[in-house]
C-alpha cells in the first residue's frame, strides 16, 4: 500500500472545508436504457424459469417504491429519479424460487440502508442492489445458497395452483445447491450455457443475452468498457494460472459461464456512481474485483464472491479516486484554503 508520509500530509487536515460530493450520475435516458436492457433479461428469465420470477420483480418494485415514496414525502423532495434500477438488479441476482418475502427484505434493506439514507442516487457509496443482496445472503444462507433449480430438468415453473404467489416446486427434493454448480458445473453443454438452461440466479444464466446486451450498453456509452474487461480478464488469467498449477478449478471459459460474475461485470460493476471516475481507476477497480471474486469463490467459505467482492471494491472506490486525484474538486478546495491562509 502506498502510504503517504503522515507528517507531510498533516498540512491539509486542520482546515474545516466541506469536501464536495462526487456526483457522477448517469442521465435519466441512460438509466432507462440500463433498466430496459435488464428488463429484456427478466423476460428471458420468464421463458427459462417460468412466470414466478415476475412475482419476485413485482415484490421488489412495490417495496422499493414504498420506501422511495416515504423518504421523498418525509424530506419534501421528488421521488428519486433512479427508482427503477435497484429492484430490477436485485430481482435478477436472486435465485428463481426465492420466497417472495426474502426478495422484499433484500429490496427494503438495499433501498433504505444502501440508498435513501445516503441521500439517494448519485450519493451512494455502495451499490444499493448489492447491499440488499448481501444482507439476505448473510441472513438467509440456506435460501440463497441451496435452493436453486435445474431449468433443464424441470422446465419453466408455473405458479402453483393453490397458492398463486408460490412456484410449483418441491424444494426438499428437487433443489440443487450452488457450491457444486460453481466448482464442478454439471453436464451442461455450451449451448445450455448460452441459452441459459442452467441453474443460477434469475438474470445470470442467459449468456447470449447478457453478452450482447452488455456490449450494447457499452456501445451506447451507458457504461465504460474498462471495468467489465478488466474484471473478466483478471478472472480468466487467474483461472488459467490456477489450472496450470493446481486442480479442482473449472476451465477459464466455464468460470465465466457459471455464477453471476459475467452478469455483474456487465451490468452492476460499471455503475458510474459507485465505480472510480478516472480511466485507470476503473482498471484498478476491475482488476481488484476480479481478484476478490476469484479468491472468495474458489478459496473462501462463501459460495460466490461477486457480491462480497464488488461491495469491498465499492468501499475502496473513494480511495482509488483519491489515488488518481479524481476528487479534483476536493484538492482544489484545500489548495485554495492553503493559499488563503
Amino acid at each position: 500500500m502506498a502510504r503517504p508520509n503522515f507528517m507531510e500530509s498533516g498540512d491539509g487536515f486542520m482546515n474545516e472545508t466541506t469536501a464536495p460530493v462526487h456526483i457522477n450520475t448517469p442521465t435519466e435516458k441512460k438509466l432507462w436504457l440500463w433498466t430496459g436492457f435488464l428488463g429484456v433479461l427478466l423476460l428471458a428469465a420468464v421463458v427459462i424459469f417460468g412466470p414466478y420470477v415476475l412475482f419476485i420483480a413485482l415484490t421488489s418494485y412495490v417495496v422499493a417504491l414504498i420506501i422511495e415514496w416515504a423518504f421523498a414525502k418525509s424530506r419534501g423532495m421528488k421521488i428519486d429519479r433512479a427508482w427503477m434500477i435497484t429492484p430490477m438488479i436485485i430481482t435478477l441476482m436472486l435465485p428463481p424460487i426465492i420466497p417472495l418475502w426474502i426478495a422484499g427484505v433484500a429490496t427494503g434493506f438495499g433501498v433504505f440502508f444502501g440508498k435513501a439514507i445516503f441521500g439517494g442516487h448519485g450519493r451512494t457509496v455502495f451499490n444499493p442492489a448489492l447491499v440488499g443482496v448481501l444482507f439476505v445472503l448473510i441472513s438467509f444462507p440456506s435460501q440463497l445458497n441451496t435452493q436453486w433449480f435445474e431449468p433443464k430438468d424441470h422446465g419453466p415453473l408455473m405458479p402453483s395452483t393453490e397458492n398463486i404467489g408460490h412456484p410449483d416446486f418441491d424444494v426438499e427434493n428437487d433443489a440443487v445447491s450452488s457450491p457444486a454448480l460453481l466448482r464442478i458445473p454439471g453436464n451442461y453443454t455450451t449451448g445450455d450455457f448460452l441459452l441459459g438452461r442452467t441453474a443460477g440466479a434469475v438474470g445470470e444464466t442467459f449468456m447470449i443475452g447478457i453478452i450482447t446486451l452488455g456490449i450494447g450498453l457499452m456501445l451506447l456509452k451507458v457504461f465504460d468498457w474498462r471495468v467489465p474487461l478488466a474484471l473478466l480478464g483478471t478472472m480468466v488469467v487467474l483461472t488459467l494460472i490456477m489450472n496450470l498449477v493446481g486442480t479442482g478449478y473449472p476451465s477459464p471459459v466455464t468460470s465465466l459461464l457459471v455464477g453471476s460474475a459475467t452478469f455483474a461485470a456487465f451490468f452492476v460493476a460499471p455503475d458510474p456512481v459507485t465505480s472510480p471516475i478516472k480511466s485507470w481507476g476503473k482498471v484498478v477497480y476491475g482488476i481488484g474485483a476480479g481478484i476478490l471474486i476469484f479468491l472468495i469463490r474458489y478459496e473462501a467459505a462463501a459460495v460466490d464472491g461477486v457480491v462480497f467482492g464488488l461491495i469491498i471494491m465499492n468501499a475502496i472506490t473513494p480511495l482509488i479516486d483519491s489515488w488518481f486525484n479524481a476528487s479534483s474538486a476536493e484538492t482544489k478546495t484545500s489548495d485554495e484554503t492553503k493559499e488563503a491562509t
Binding site: 500500500m1 502510504r3 503517504p4 503522515f6 507528517m7 500530509s9 498533516g10 498540512d11 491539509g12 487536515f13 486542520m14 466541506t18 469536501a19 464536495p20 460530493v21 462526487h22 423518504f71 418525509s74 424530506r75 440502508f113 444502501g114 435513501a116 439514507i117 445516503f118 441521500g119 439517494g120 450519493r123 457509496v125 455502495f126 447491499v131 448481501l134 444482507f135 448473510i138 479468491l295 472468495i296 478459496e299 473462501a300 467459505a301 462463501a302 464472491g305 457480491v307 462480497f308 467482492g309 461491495i311 469491498i312 468501499a315 475502496i316 473513494p318 480511495l319 479516486d321 483519491s322 476528487s327 476536493e330
Partner: protein, 202 residues
Amino acid sequence: MSWTVFFVAIFSSMLINNVVLMKFLGVCPFLGVSKKTGSALGMSAAVMFVMVIAAFVSYLLYYLVLVPLEIEFVQTISFILIIASLVQLVEMIIKKISKKLYKSLGVYIALITTNCAILGIAVENITRDFAGQYGLFPGLAVAVTTAFGAALGFGLVMFAFSTIRERLEGANVPEAWKGVPVSLITAGIMALAFAGLGGIVG
C-alpha cells in the same frame, strides 16, 4: 517453519481477521479520527507503532517473566501498563516531530492507551499459543508479524473509511442520519462484505 507462515500471518490478520471489521476492536478511533484522511493516517501510524512494540514487549514479558514466576493471572494488568507507557513515549515523539499532528490527534493519542485493538492483539498472540506452535523466538516473530498485519489492516480500513466519510460529508444525508449514524451503517456494510473473505487462509 517456512516463510509462508509470515505471509499467512500478515494476510489473515490484515484482511480476514481485520481488527475493526471482523473483531470489532478499536472502533472508537475508527469512528473518532476518520473524518479527515490526514488524521486517519496519523492515527494508523501511531497505532502501528504502538501495536508492534506492544506485541513484542508483551510477548517477551509473558513468556520470560510471567510464566516462570507462575503469575499469568496478572497478564491483563501488566499488558495495560506496558501499552500505557508506550503511549506516553509515542506522545512525546509526536509532540517533538509534528506539532500539527499532535494537535489534530489530540485526545486520541491518550486514547490509544485504552485502544482495545492493541490489548486485543497482545492478548490474542498469547492465546493463539505461537510459542507452543513454533517455539519461543520464532513464535515471537510470528506474533510481531501478526501485530504488524493487524495494524496494516487497521490502517487500510481507516484510510478507506476516511475517504468514504469525506465523500459523505457533502452528501445529502437525511438530518437524522447525519454524521455517526450513516458512518456506522457504512462500517456495518463493510463488515458484512468482509465476512465473505472468511476461510481463505488459516
